[in-house]
């Protein structure tokens, strides 16, 4: 089924091939295109780091079983990028650690699905799905370490972005750690700005595992 599939520690056995595609796509984007330094070196053309554990949630946009985009969320109650590798970016306000805050890292779209001069439909759908998933999981916010270029994009969606620290340079890029409020307005904001459908693209299959251990109800399994 086409859509943005929720892949967690509880159902990832259905998604072995999709996850592998995602790690290979991440390699193309982060190692080959963006040439990020400091990623754990691998020689199997897959980009996987120490936070791709059973606690991670991958949102993978599948079209005819092919991964064309994706993103990742990790609970802040376990080791994550900001807490383990980049805490200095949140030196002033502290690294948020709470059951209802997840860290948002890795956002990627297959190069052939990108669009000139504007946010691609695939990318916008993944972003909107991330917000929608976070809302369903009763997250209050997601934390992120991002290039400051993203700030004007997120403000354009009407997202409330709260800095955790001051901007600083890493690897020739200006980065800022921040949290983004997860609200219905954040979801409608990006859908409206990017012309993404009001109806959900999320697909949930198999056993349910919440990202927020204090989430109140368990939804019926699809």
């Amino acid at each position: 089924m086409d859509g943005v599939h929720v892949v967690t520690g509880a159902n990832r056995h259905f998604y072995a091939d999709a996850l592998d595609q995602a790690f290979r796509l991440r390699y193309r984007v982060y190692v080959e295109e963006l040439r990020w330094r400091g990623l754990p070196p691998r020689d199997d053309e897959r980009e996987i780091d120490q936070f791709d554990t059973l606690d991670a949630v991958h949102l993978l946009y599948l079209e005819n079983n092919k991964v064309i985009g994706g993103t990742r969320l990790v609970p802040t109650t376990v080791p994550h990028l900001l807490s383990e590798v980049f805490p200095h970016f949140a030196a002033e306000r502290g690294v948020p650690r709470a059951p209802d805050i997840a860290e948002w890292t890795r956002f990627y779209v297959a190069p052939e699905r990108r669009e000139e001069h504007k946010a691609s439909h695939v990318g916008s759908t993944v972003l909107a799905s991330m917000i929608e998933y976070a809302l369903q999981e009763q997250l209050s916010a997601v934390s992120v370490l991002m290039n400051i270029f993203w700030l004007s994009r997120f403000h354009g969606y009407g997202w409330r972005v709260r800095p955790l620290g001051l901007p600083a340079v890493h690897d020739d890029e200006w980065l800022l750690a921040a949290t983004i409020d997860i609200t219905p307005q954040a979801l409608s904001g990006i859908r409206r700005k990017c012309g993404v459908d009001e109806c959900s693209a999320l697909v949930r299959v198999g056993a349910y595992k919440p990202i927020n251990r204090e989430k109140r109800d368990v939804p019926a399994v699809a």
């Binding site: 002033e92 306000r93 000139e116 001069h117 400051i148 270029f149 700030l151 004007s152 994009r153 403000h155 409330r160 709260r162 800095p163 620290g165 001051l166 901007p167 600083a168 340079v169 200006w174 800022l176």
Partner: protein, 245 residues
């Protein structure tokens, strides 16, 4: 009684929180004046930058300059003599005015402009270019006679500028369209090779496309920018942030 030690970071966060809910231009201007005043800054502006030959007045989002300097700057169209303007397209990160390079021998007008600014109390300053994925958007520029530009102050002012620009572009009655990128990926790629000094034929060899195709792309870009030759086209592309060296 213990003196409160001024914490630039904390002040910057409070600024970002407080302007979030503002909807009136005047409120944002007042809050900017208060915040920047803490660093000795008494003149500032948030503005887009015009194409070569264009005028800056149409691109200003919020003007915190003193009116005499504004009038002087506009009447003499100093945007063409301002070394900070040129540097905005080159620099992703913030920079002090004194670090915007110019050669006083070959660009005496720039030297004069910086002296004129110092004469009206803008001796030291800091500029924060705002870039997005689409390229250069605007600059937040600020100055005064004695300005705190310590590393901690600059980091705080960087954050303040990022949020002030966002707020300025959403509360100003007629926001200027940010630069929308004009060039395709291929056009940018070809221009970058031209900027490195390659001829059309050399580029055709590098990219494995025909010489005629390269020339066609260059003609298309020259039409978009209304530039008469390859050099002017490259300059226009650099100024708009479509390509970087």
């Amino acid at each position: 009684m213990d003196e409160q030690i001024f914490d630039p970071g904390r002040a910057a966060f409070a600024f970002c929180d407080e302007i979030e809910g503002m909807t009136e231009q005047s409120a944002v201007i007042d809050r900017m004046n208060i915040e920047l005043g803490k660093y000795g800054i008494d003149a500032w502006v948030i503005t887009g930058l015009p194409m070569p030959g264009g005028r800056i007045e149409e691109m200003i989002l919020l003007n915190g300059w003193n009116p005499e300097w504004s009038r002087y700057y506009f009447s003499k169209n100093l945007v063409k003599d301002d070394p900070c303007v040129a540097h905005c397209f080159r620099s992703i990160g913030p920079f002090e005015w004194k670090d915007a390079p110019y050669d006083p021998d070959t660009w005496p007008a720039a030297e004069k402009m910086m002296h004129d600014a110092a004469d009206v109390g803008m001796r030291h300053g800091f500029a924060v270019p705002i870039h997005s994925f689409a390229g250069f958007q605007a600059v937040v520029s600020m100055g005064g006679k004695h300005v705190d530009l310590s590393p901690a102050a600059k980091r705080a002012l960087h954050l303040v500028s990022l949020y002030a620009h966002h707020k300025a572009s959403s509360v100003v009655r007629q926001p200027q369209e940010p630069y929308s990128p004009l060039l395709t990926r291929r056009e940018k790629e070809i221009l970058r090779w031209v900027a490195c000094g390659k001829t059309a034929w050399e580029i055709s060899q590098i990219l494995r496309i025909s010489d005629a195709t390269v020339r066609q792309h260059l003609k298309a870009v020259a039409r978009k920018f209304e530039t008469p030759n390859k050099t002017a086209t490259v300059v226009a592309a650099l100024r708009r942030g479509e390509i970087h060296l």
